[in-house]
């Protein structure tokens, strides 16, 4: 009696593995799915080639005037000619190195913070939060160290967008944390004040806030005190965003179990030590996605300053598109502005996802 010898293992059917298998599983698993796939491919076929031709193949890249735009595609000459205006607004050309220096410093600082193994991050962070704004302000506006003064009405373009977003973010976060703590406070009057403040700002559109800060703020100030238009917009944006930030932080505070508060109190920590050392580090980590979402919203909302007559990136693009020398190139301008905003917002959201993963200390199952 011979022992049965097992047959050699057959390879899996060709149609179930490799590219074919993947296609079958993901695109053609059923008649309905096949129809959907074909429809999607047809739509892509309708959309992609004309867009590609417009953006790249038929586009005009070289030249300095609108006469150089002869083909059917996009006229990127328009963007090239106006690029400096889009970046710096009316900031005088010989002084632009100041803007570049400030943003270069910012990029360097943030790069140091992002590199995981960089030493002395605390020092870099302190520098960015405390010393850097002072340097930035003096370089931008001038008037000291023999630098000529540049009025804020000359600031504009992407530079202004970044300034408003940066100032808004750095003031809204601490204000929002304070408001959230106030809203969770045991003291009824403090709580009532914070709730009223938060619900008021969250209930009205930013545009009315900007209207208010540009029309009503001068009425609120004592005689002779006059705020700069940019500063008024900044105050409006910061107050508005701090209310949203407060709600995000409150979500994190509510998610911290009561035992943490009790344990901190049992160790004899006072209120501020309990919050600063035990509760906030955990709460803020939980709400990183929410905080970044608020940042992104703030960044997109900076475009609204066009309503009160500041020249941010969108505003300069919009004005350039109505320039009689360059009529008819609005689409190119808007596409360029959209690409810039998209890069910033998408970058921020990707970074937050990354950070979330890195700070994950195993609380979720």
């Amino acid at each position: 009696m011979s022992t049965p010898t097992p047959l050699p293992e057959l390879p899996p059917p060709v149609i179930n593995v490799g590219i074919l298998g993947w296609l079958r599983r993901n695109l053609f698993s059923s008649p309905g799915n096949t129809a959907l796939t074909l429809l999607a491919i047809y739509l892509l076929y309708l959309a992609i080639p004309p867009i590609l031709r417009w953006v790249l193949l038929d586009a005009d890249w070289r030249g300095t005037t609108r006469q150089d735009c002869t083909s059917q595609g996009a006229c990127w000459v328009f963007i090239k000619v106006r690029f400096d205006r889009f970046m710096y607004g009316f900031y005088p050309e010989p002084e632009r190195w100041r803007v570049n220096t400030v943003f270069l410093l910012l990029v360097l600082g943030i790069a140091c913070l992002l590199i995981k193994s960089f030493p002395r991050k605390l020092w870099v962070g302190t520098f960015l939060l405390l010393i850097y704004p002072v340097i930035g302000f003096h370089l931008f506006s001038g008037g000291s160290f023999g630098l000529p003064v540049v009025e804020t009405s000359q600031w504009g373009g992407l530079m202004l967008t970044l300034i408003i977003a940066g100032v808004g973010i750095t003031t809204a976060l601490p204000l929002g944390i304070l408001l959230a703590l106030g809203r969770r406070s045991q003291m009824p009057i403090i709580r009532a004040i914070c709730v009223t403040f938060i619900e008021f700002w969250r209930g009205v559109p930013l545009i009315t806030v900007l209207f208010m800060s540009s029309v009503m703020l001068p009425l609120f100030l004592p005689e002779g005190v006059n705020f700069d238009k940019l500063l008024r917009a900044l105050i409006g944006v910061a107050l508005f965003q701090s209310a949203y930030m407060a709600e995000v932080v409150r979500g994190g505070l509510q998610a911290i179990p009561k035992g943490q508060f009790e344990a901190a109190a049992a160790l004899g920590l006072g209120y501020w030590k309990m919050m600063g050392l035990i509760i906030l580090p955990q709460a803020l980590k939980l709400v990183i996605p929410g905080i970044v979402n608020t940042f992104i919203a703030l960044f997109k909302d900076t475009t609204l300053v066009i309503i009160i007559g500041l020249f941010d990136l969108l505003s300069t693009v919009h004005n350039a598109a109505t320039d009689p020398n360059w009529l008819g190139f609005a689409i190119e301008g808007y596409v360029f502005a959209a690409a810039v905003f998209w890069l910033f917002c998408f970058g921020m959201s990707r970074y937050s996802q990354n950070l979330e993963k890195r700070l994950q200390t195993g609380h979720n199952r």
């Binding site: 009824p188 004040i193 545009i207 209207f211 208010m212």
Partner: protein
Amino acid sequence: MPEQQQTPARPPFWNDPRIRSIGFQCIALLGVVAFGLYLLHNTQTNLQQRGIASGFGFLSSPAGFGIIQHLLPYSESDSYGRVFWVGLFNTLLVSALGIFLATLLGFIIGIARLSKNWLVAKLAMAYIEVFRNIPLLLQIFFWYFAVLRAMPAPRQSFNLGDVLFLNLRGLYVPAPVFETGFWVVLVALLAAVAATVILHRWARRRQELTGKRFPVVATSLGLVLGLPGLAFAAAGFPLSWEYPELQGFNFQGGLVVIPELAALLAALSIYTAAFIAEIVRAGIQAVSHGQTEAAYSLGLRPSYTLRLVVIPQALRVIIPPLTSQYLNLTKNSSLAAAIGYPDLVSIFAGTVLNQTGQAIEVIAITMAVYLTISLLISLLMNWYNRRVALVER
């Protein structure tokens, strides 16, 4: 040896937490009141100096400007108060239409994002990532200045089957004309809705008592569509359409969607739909797979599993953020001011404020309107949340 009761020494009164908390609150209250009084004082001096009389008397004086779209009857001789209502109704119109379109688009994209079809899921993802990360104002500008302003003149308008016309002046659609006898259809519709509600209750009670199911959805659909349809036929089709026609240089007749409204609506619904899609995806993914498996093991068919197990639980996660998106859309509709759609902010906080100079009153009224809307929706939301919240021991 007598046991010595060791009572801790009473802390000095400034270290007593209760007294401290009262003290802090008094300081905070005083600070807020003082700040308010300071602002009030400044405002009064400033107003006096500029010779602006405060008060709401200006609301009854004539406005003297035209409005390109009004749902209420309006003419230039009407008062500023009338302008307020016209603006409010325009805001509500664009918000309602936007909410409807954004929900529709958002749910489709959100479900497509979870599709098993790789290509469809990736396309939905691309849609979300592109439109979510571009500022809304930029999108409004794009639709208004780059797309709709570039439309041809009325004589060369895009013609869709001689029914829809798209040109520089807007989108022209046929207008329904209700003839006498149309009320029969409305009555039939009301009756059908009432019958559906009664049927639903009856079917539910019967199921609780006997366990027998009744095809409620199909029957209600038949009732709501069929009864008015029958009435419509019985009354001799009392509805006709008025088609837009080219006369001279412009179209006459029909309904016109002005380009400002079209651009605002397109941008608002496309932008908000991207957020709604993410909410829908998160909501559906929040229902754990075990729920579906448990339902299957109880013998529920896939359609019942979806309807009775997955959707109710997903809605609990979806509805609160969805409402806040609706609220955002309503507040974002105020960006109408940038392209001149006559909404509340554009004509009331814009034109009326410039004409009268009553900054404080106008801005206060405008903010009060938005605050009322958001507080109303928040109250509704809290009520709903309490109703659907998980009841735990």
